[in-house]
Symmetry: D2
Subunit: 307 residues, 4 copies
Amino acid sequence: MAFVLGENQYGKAENRIVRIYRDTARHEIKDVNVSTSLRGDFTAAHTAGDQSRVLPTDSQKQTAYAYAKAPGIGAIEDYALLLGRHFVDDVEPVTGARIEVEEFGWRRVGDHDHTFVRTGEEIRRTVVTIDGKGAGPDGEGAGQHAWVVSGFRDLVVLKSTGSQFWGFLEDEYTVLEPTRDRVMATSLVAWWRFGDVDLGSVAYDDVYARAKDLMVTTFAELESLALQQTLHAMGEAVLTAVPEIVEVRFSAPNKHHFVYDLARFGLENPGEVFHADDRPYGLIQASIRRDDAPDSGLAWYTVPGFA
Amino acid sequence: MAFVLGENQYGKAENRIVRIYRDTARHEIKDVNVSTSLRGDFTAAHTAGDQSRVLPTDSQKQTAYAYAKAPGIGAIEDYALLLGRHFVDDVEPVTGARIEVEEFGWRRVGDHDHTFVRTGEEIRRTVVTIDGKGAGPDGEGAGQHAWVVSGFRDLVVLKSTGSQFWGFLEDEYTVLEPTRDRVMATSLVAWWRFGDVDLGSVAYDDVYARAKDLMVTTFAELESLALQQTLHAMGEAVLTAVPEIVEVRFSAPNKHHFVYDLARFGLENPGEVFHADDRPYGLIQASIRRDDAPDSGLAWYTVPGFA
Amino acid sequence: MAFVLGENQYGKAENRIVRIYRDTARHEIKDVNVSTSLRGDFTAAHTAGDQSRVLPTDSQKQTAYAYAKAPGIGAIEDYALLLGRHFVDDVEPVTGARIEVEEFGWRRVGDHDHTFVRTGEEIRRTVVTIDGKGAGPDGEGAGQHAWVVSGFRDLVVLKSTGSQFWGFLEDEYTVLEPTRDRVMATSLVAWWRFGDVDLGSVAYDDVYARAKDLMVTTFAELESLALQQTLHAMGEAVLTAVPEIVEVRFSAPNKHHFVYDLARFGLENPGEVFHADDRPYGLIQASIRRDDAPDSGLAWYTVPGFA
Amino acid sequence: MAFVLGENQYGKAENRIVRIYRDTARHEIKDVNVSTSLRGDFTAAHTAGDQSRVLPTDSQKQTAYAYAKAPGIGAIEDYALLLGRHFVDDVEPVTGARIEVEEFGWRRVGDHDHTFVRTGEEIRRTVVTIDGKGAGPDGEGAGQHAWVVSGFRDLVVLKSTGSQFWGFLEDEYTVLEPTRDRVMATSLVAWWRFGDVDLGSVAYDDVYARAKDLMVTTFAELESLALQQTLHAMGEAVLTAVPEIVEVRFSAPNKHHFVYDLARFGLENPGEVFHADDRPYGLIQASIRRDDAPDSGLAWYTVPGFA
């Protein structure tokens, strides 16, 4: 009877880094949550406790903070790519890395130079996966490949009409009534995969703004026959307009709003008063991609929230 | 040895009600979390299980939903006052009520008629306390009194400079270094008490907007020597400009941002890279009131978050 | 128009301290969450930012950790009393203190000397309030008074029968059906106040074990006509058997378990399959005390969770 | 430019089902959280909103509750297998299913017949994946395959000595000091995969008890040189003693306990007083399997928490 070490990685999770740019009186703020994981042949650490090839998670943490100073944090994807490539290229036993960055948004108080209010809409994030040692300044050397998946979580959208649900399959457990008018709401998780582009020169912030806007606008404008249909149209809109993106994935809880029975009290309720229920909830998970999208490789391997 | 029933109240907590106004194609949304509690002489229920004077919590729930239809939900304070007065005036054994309402904000997608994105900044709330049976249409009859306390939670504000902390008392456990420039951040809980005004005709939404704006603006503009000082100035600004308010209370965690030590890696860090720590945190709780404020009575009796 | 500084206190919240006793090979563990707040005349800090009378929250933190070493942490009430009295007696401007300690339970792995599993039942806690400068070794000098309130949160108990609910008051919003057999479940918050005893020599751990046991046993054994009745009987059992305690308070969410309608599928469901709902929930808050209990003074002033 | 529907599934998440067995006066309780997802060719729903092949998530919910009555809930793995096979075998368009069940533990109050306290240690869970239509009573027909992965989350274990960390790789960002004695603590997520056994006749409850016990005991007894080594030994112990299991996976946050600096106050602190930090934390993810383990197929495809 023999046992084999299987998949493994290790790192430092949830480094809560705040970077202030204060070169002028008008400050800028970047507020991120950084998690790093390293891969390689660490068999001896697992089987014998031998740490000689293991860079401590504490060192990974120090590096994340140091990189927040220089090169600094612009688009989170660029920061994650540089941090990940550093680990793979500069630490001998490391052959792969996974860098996840979440970003919390802030807006200025009025137009104040150095005071900010945290915005609570969606939380932006990226997962960058590096595989193989690099060579050359672009980091895409001999055997190295990098994948960037970006998106957001917790974007809560609701439409108070313009959503239907009928014509569904019925079995012996089906008691749901069809409806031509319902509230549709979700707390959206979205991810998009970048294709065979030069990852070092993508305008990530701009892509983010456009992708989010297309999703929300499509959600608003489509008369929906199903959440599946809405998500598919949202993905299609992004793929149509954003050439850098080759695949989109959604995980969308159907946050149920039940029409409350007020007839018992002599009150009509034509879609006006709802109970917003917590659990259970429908959960729709779907993806859409270009038919010529490159193979996804390790891109989705460790993306949380899609399963 | 004799025992006495002490303070008690009972109700239905966290009714998650969504009210859509759809009289025209341009919908409006109110999204609230309603908790009701009733008081009175319910001794027999406690000592003998006799429910004959106890209106079930389920009935309280039904009422909260019915009142969301009519009279409907405008300012949460008005809804809470009407709901609370109904319980006290219309249910014989009830002599007091506590109604808490939280409101979650939404903004339109662009200018769309019926699609909304939930905003995640602060959560607005009110606690209305009614004591004594009313008489007459204004509800302020013989022995009835009503108190309204309003405010918000989870407003996260940060200033990246303009905050100092020095000159403090030192004892044998003091190791903190004084500083003339630090990040100051808090997740603000604010409450304000309304005075002897006609509670049925206050422009609560307008008061809310002005109070929040004054707080945030003062936070931004004051060069701070202590969070205490900043809070006091914020309260003063509100009391000065909003005559309906007679008292302001704050509970403000000092969300610590520690300058990260990068000198070990040959990097200067003049207030640029911070670790945002979770726990422990400073916690400043303070209040300010007009010197001629009427007695607070039961106003603060069940306000959460200030202790 | 003049404004007055109102109630205020400040401190360091949620110091997560773990204390290991390792004098022998058989270790002991205490795992606590400590929050301190100080009171006194700190007007200048609020009105002018003058810190000269303000002991920093950081110093309070250091003290909490130092006291975890010596005198150490036995019963959390003793630790809190000593820590609170230190602040009031040894720091000149401080005239009052509030110390809250939560304790997380651990059990040994088997009978292992130094390995533990965290138990997840209830979380024990205490709030100690000190008012006035002390004199003499017992800390109850001239004008000093101390109050100790102890209890727990998150004790989830359920009985699958032996609970009824009928005979209640009905109004026009009442649609609830009476029942002679239902599931009763709550996530119990309990607090008990100690009376005029020598607080320095109470066997707090023993009181805790007895009070919790009496509450749970009474919950189990009483055929319940209402959660109010059950809580009252639980408090009565404690007051009867534990002379150190003079008052008990409960905050008990009624965690609803709804019988699921399976008749639609040709299945009988005589109290076998339930939906455990999240929100809304009933909330019963009640207290019971000895008729000769001493005045509660500041005991309940800052006890969280009862409102 | 053509787009393709990619991976997708849909279902009802977090059905909170409580099942009471009350055939005798001595009741039994099963408390579970059930999430179902279905797969198949649902292209028309995504591209055109055509629901004719879509069994509503509401029907999935009804089925989960009906199955809680009959066949009932014994081991969660058996319940999940039966529920999943029902969807795949009895609903025409469904060709695959994912059933996740979490189970919350309860203990009796003393030896009471129908009153229980919820235990808060780990939460047990399983993810069952079914692929392909079945035939015959054992459900493993023509093209059907089933995978069962079981485990737990939130088991918090700590050893106060018997853990070392030294001899690690150092780079320019390494400032960590090696140690021969530290606290090691984790909130363990464990999963184990069942091999080519008759899944309908595994004694899942017994396997669970043995696997958990072996893990915890090994954690206690091994003098640890690294969390990786401890996890590997834990997996090895399970694979050695439990033949039904062919692979084990762990996700283990290293919950850091930092020795608190008390020397500043003239106090020695030889591993007695610690600050338990929240974030960041080390995160070790590792797996171990038999060298002749069958291919994992879809077993790990949607297992949360390992990434």
